[in-house]
């Protein structure tokens, strides 16, 4: 019997080639989009799964409560790993990771490495980074031991076997030995590093070993490996007492109360609320909302494609009606016909599946690029995945074929065989409803895209409160010749000015335990973000003072006893005007003095985040960065001149620089990728919707051939016929617009909440989406309508 179904399905497809094409193409494109999203979602949810013990690994995070705020910190204190392992039998192992960038030298080869980690020797017992050479157990025990990734190994040693060979790290007097090689850490790992340096090397590198009893040293990521069957919740409940025992007195003194939590390893990437100060190159974070959003988009696109299928199949029911009648007459029961039509729909989806797989394979490199990472190297690399997708296709076939099969199998043989069958009204409401649904989704996606792009544009162009143009940033990595280099810059004609600092807007900063005099005259303990800057910094970045004065060499005490804060800090301390804050006392990291000025708030972090309180002080020992203000003209030659100076004065380090505005905007890479993906899927959604519209409109045009002929004979113009045929469908698009607008408004308003600084949703965005979708829909429909309208009426009448 199935053979019979198959035969008739294939013959039907071949007989109605245009319909089959539209039907299958729509499904295939929808399925391909869905597959790509499926890969994306599986990739995003696969983070850290390669660790065999993943379900026993927890990251320690903490909430630090000060009298002023609660800090959600992912960075933990040095002794935790050691004492937790000692005190709690359920802790099998613990490991700390600290991030630092090293200048790595091997003969003439030198690189300023950014992805390097100092790690405890227990690392490879906790994590399953793919180790290929060396002794996994002892590789990280000795001081000055390094495990290299294969990429790093290639960089320094080419095809040589690097095991036992040496490289030199900055600061260290002696060589470090390569004790192990690992494959590059998988992309779906929250931790990324090209080089793992043994924690015990700290003494050689920094001149002091990691203080294992310093309970205020927040510098480490700490991961615990619990024993099998250990209860993480119960362990977490015991941690407050643990903190009291070792750190209680200090917490009371500092008024910084730290509560520890255990975050399951698999939740860290997508769900952690404890944001990092670790560089994103080492610790990657995702966004569970994006996973949800794309899952929803994937389902929507699939729905749109299924609706096409449903619409096109039911629209053509008249052609199948006779067959239904004959089969019923020949003894077919309704469920047998239902089965037949569902089988047919599965056959069609399987054809679409094959095309979709081909499309996905072709689109994958492009999709990886859009997503900003390699979500998959090939759909065929994972046979389980392809099996899942295959199964999904069959489900799609059943889902899409369900209604049409019920609809078709319900026909009464009497009426269809007698030709008393009119499909024009049967199921028409439903088809119209489904078209409206498709366009609701499409218009909502278009509106969403417009809003995402407006927000991106807003972020790129908003006045941040400082001048980010023509600022070149060079990280000296505290090279001993940095002063000579900076002084030499003034001789370059394109360099307008240059200034030292520890931080620049958009980049890293420290946060410091501070005791500040507040509006009530009390000493308020708090943790404040801190920039170390030199005298000209405020001037060069064109930051605006609202009260007091800037740092000045005229005041001898400015270099050690002066602080400038921003308005947010003044507000946090309770001052109602900036002026009140000037002259108040501070104590921070061993320095005491007075606040000399208050700066107007500027966005030193990305616009997703509120401007937080900020303090600025002069501390030459912390100056690692040079900001160079350059003239806009002759930029390449200016940069060349800077490079020449660098290479002469700092020959042992490679010349690296970036533009502040580029670096600042890189904070929006994730949003950019999101926006691009969003745009592409919106385009696909509307494309599939239009395919459906094309199919439906051509079908209804065929049905109305006679009417069109009669009208033309009676003198109707081409344009009036086009209007006649288009109006019905355009009405549907308008209804869809009315429904989509509040939905899109609601969803996008919610999306925008993630941005502390955001654009306003305004009417033109919806109007633009409406006009765009109307134009696209009209172009689709009019193609058929015009063809019908200009046809010779005699011909159309003769077809009856």
């Amino acid at each position: 019997m199935f053979k019979n179904y198959f035969k008739i399905a294939v013959r039907n497809l071949l007989r109605h080639k245009a319909f089959s094409f539209v039907n299958i193409l729509g499904l295939a494109v929808g399925m391909a989009s869905c597959f790509l999203i499926f890969l994306y979602v599986s990739f995003e949810t696969s983070y850290d799964n390669f660790n065999k013990k993943a379900d026993r690994i927890y990251r320690i995070v903490s909430d630090i409560k000060t009298p002023s705020e609660v800090i959600h910190s992912g960075i933990t204190i040095a002794p935790l790993a050691i004492y937790l392992k000692k005190d709690f039998p359920e802790v099998e192992d613990a490991v700390r990771l600290a991030s630092d960038g090293f200048l790595v030298t091997k003969g003439d080869i030198k690189f300023q490495e950014k992805r390097t980690l100092l790690v405890d020797s227990t690392l490879l017992n906790v994590f399953d980074f793919p180790f290929v050479e060396g002794n996994k157990v002892t590789a990280l025990t000795e001081p000055m031991s390094i495990i290299l990734s294969q990429t790093a190994s290639k960089k320094y040693f080419g095809n040589e076997d690097p095991l036992g060979k040496h490289v030199l790290l900055t600061g260290a007097a002696i060589n470090a030995t390569i004790t192990g090689i690992m494959k590059d850490i998988p992309e779906n790992s929250q931790i990324h590093a090209d080089m793992l340096v043994s924690m015990s090397s700290a003494k050689q590198i920094y001149g002091q070993s990691t203080s294992d009893s310093e309970w205020t040293n927040h510098n480490f990521l700490t991961y615990l490996l619990l024993k099998p069957n250990a209860n993480a919740k119960r362990l977490e409940e015991k941690l407050p007492a643990f903190m009291q025992k070792y750190h209680g007195q200090q917490m009371r003194e500092l008024q910084m109360y730290e509560t520890l939590f255990l975050e399951p390893l698999r939740d860290v990437y997508l769900k952690s609320t404890h944001t990092e100060v670790f560089p994103a190159t080492i610790l990657t974070t995702g966004n569970i909302n994006n996973v949800y959003i794309f899952s929803i988009i994937g389902i929507f696109i699939l729905l749109i494609a299924c609706i096409n299928f449903i619409n096109l199949t039911t629209a053509r029911s008249a052609e199948r009606a006779k067959e239904v009648g004959i089969r019923k007459m020949a003894g077919a029961l309704r469920f047998q016909l239902t089965k037949q039509f569902i089988s047919e729909s599965i056959i069609i989806t399987l054809i679409a599946f094959i095309i979709a797989v081909v499309l996905s394979v072709l689109a994958l490199p492009w999709f990886n690029q859009l997503a900003g990472k390699t979500i998959s190297t090939g759909i065929f690399s994972n046979s389980l995945q392809i099996a899942e997708l295959f199964l999904l296709s069959i489900l799609i076939g059943i889902f899409a074929g369900f209604y049409p099969s019920l609809f078709l199998s319900s026909f009464k043989p009497v009426s269809v065989l007698k030709g008393r069958f009119s499909t024009s009204t049967k199921g028409l409401m439903l088809r119209k409803g489904l078209v409206v649904f498709q366009f609701v989704i499409s218009i909502a996606l278009i509106t969403g895209t417009i809003i995402v792009y407006t927000q991106m544009n807003y972020m790129r162009n908003k006045d941040l409160g400082f001048n980010k143009e023509q600022e070149i940033i060079i990280n000296t990595n505290f090279d001993k010749n940095k002063d000579a280099f900076r002084q030499s810059l003034s001789s370059i004609s394109g360099v307008l000015s240059s200034v030292y600092s520890s931080s620049v807007p958009g980049g890293d900063y420290t946060s410091a335990y501070s005791e500040m005099q507040n509006a009530k005259g009390e000493t308020q303990k708090t943790n404040l973000n801190l920039y170390f800057i030199n005298y000209d910094y405020i001037n060069q970045y064109q930051l605006k003072l609202t009260a007091g004065r800037s740092f000045s060499k005229d005041f001898a005490t400015d270099s050690t006893q002066a602080m400038i804060i921003n308005e947010s800090a003044a507000k946090m301390l309770g001052y109602t005007s900036a002026q009140q804050a000037v002259g108040r006392n501070f104590s921070q990291w061993g320095r005491q003095g007075k606040i000399i000025g208050v700066l107007k708030d500027f966005n030193y972090k990305s616009l997703q985040q509120q401007i937080e309180p900020l303090t600025m002080r002069i501390e030459p020992g912390a100056f690692g960065l040079i900001s160079i203000k350059v003239a806009a003209n002759n930029l390449p030659s200016t940069i060349k001149a800077i490079e020449n100076k660098w290479n002469t004065i700092v020959p042992n380090r490679p010349f690296e620089y970036n533009f502040l505005d580029d670096a600042f905007n890189q904070q929006y890479n994730a949003e950019n990728n999101f926006g691009n993906l969003f745009l592409n899927f919106a385009v696909l959604a509307i494309f599939i919707s239009c395919l459906g519209l094309l199919g439906l409109s051509s079908y209804s045009t065929i049905q109305r051939t006679k009417e069109i002929g009669v009208r033309k004979v009676l003198g109707a113009s081409v344009s009036s016929i086009v209007n006649l045929l288009s109006a019905d469908f355009l009405k549907l698009v308008l209804i869809a617009f009315v429904i989509a607008t509040p939905l899109a408004w609601f969803a996008m308003n919610k999306w925008l909440q993630d941005f502390a600084y955001r654009t306003h949703i305004s009417w033109w965005m919806f109007a633009l989406a409406a006009i765009a979708s109307l134009l696209i829909a009209f172009a689709t429909i009019s193609f058929q309508a015009i063809k019908a309208a200009i046809a010779n009426p005699v011909k159309s009448l003769r077809t009856e």
Partner: protein, 225 residues
């Protein structure tokens, strides 16, 4: 074989109510060849549909082979239909996407006959209607007469006890029409009961008995033999 009494069927649309069968009563014996005649709209086709269990009556009794079927549900009707009744229509009603062989095979598929058996039976019946040489052709490639012969072949492949023919020659020229009538006569002679709706007095003369209908009722009966 068929006993109908007080059968009623009314078609309703929003505005009009059309009485198709008005307390109709008739009996048809096994082995009979009956022609039903009457003007358009007299209820002949409705009668045929009810006899074929494609439609159910609103009221009255319909006994088929001793079983009351007037209130059978769709499934039971389909069961009874596929084992007992064959149809021949004016417009042939062949499935365009299936070949001659596959069209004729269809009823056997639904009655669950095995493949090898199906082949034998289809070939047998195609032979009988002399269309064997066209077995792999599609309906559109055949003449009207040939298509109707295929339809007849399909109607009898299951060895039904009753054949219902609705204007079987209506779309055919006279020589093709006569061939089809010959075929039906032969089937009748081999024992199949035939009820045929027709406008053609010529065709009606092939039958044993002519029932004339008007406004949903029988008006006269002529017995020809």
């Amino acid at each position: 074989m068929i006993n109908i009494s007080q059968l009623e069927k009314v078609y309703r649309t929003e505005e009009v109510e059309t009485v198709a069968l008005n307390k109709l009563t008739m009996d048809i014996k096994t082995g009979e060849f009956v022609a039903v005649m009457g003007p358009s709209g007299c209820g002949k086709s409705t009668l045929l549909n009810i006899l074929g269990m494609l439609d159910d009556p609103d009221d009255g009794s319909f006994i088929f082979n001793g079983i009351e079927v007037a209130h059978f549900n769709e499934r039971k009707r389909a069961d009874l239909r596929k084992n007992n009744i064959g149809f021949v229509f004016q417009s042939f009603n062949l499935i365009d996407e299936l070949t001659v062989f596959e069209n004729v095979e269809l009823p056997l598929i639904y009655t669950g006959v095995k493949t090898a058996d199906r082949k034998k039976r289809v070939e047998e019946v195609l032979d009988k209607v002399q269309i064997m040489h066209r077995r792999n052709h599609y309906p559109q490639q055949l003449s009207g007469g040939q298509q109707q012969r295929v339809a007849v072949a399909r109607a009898v492949v299951n060895h039904p006890k009753l054949i219902l023919a609705d204007e079987p020659t209506g779309n055919l020229d006279s020589s093709n029409g006569n061939e089809v009538m010959q075929l039906l006569t032969e089937l009748n002679e081999q024992g199949t009961t035939i009820v045929m709706v027709t406008h053609s007095e010529h065709d009606a003369r092939y039958s044993h008995r002519i029932i004339r209908m008007l406004d949903g009722q029988t008006v006269t009966e002529n017995i020809l033999i």
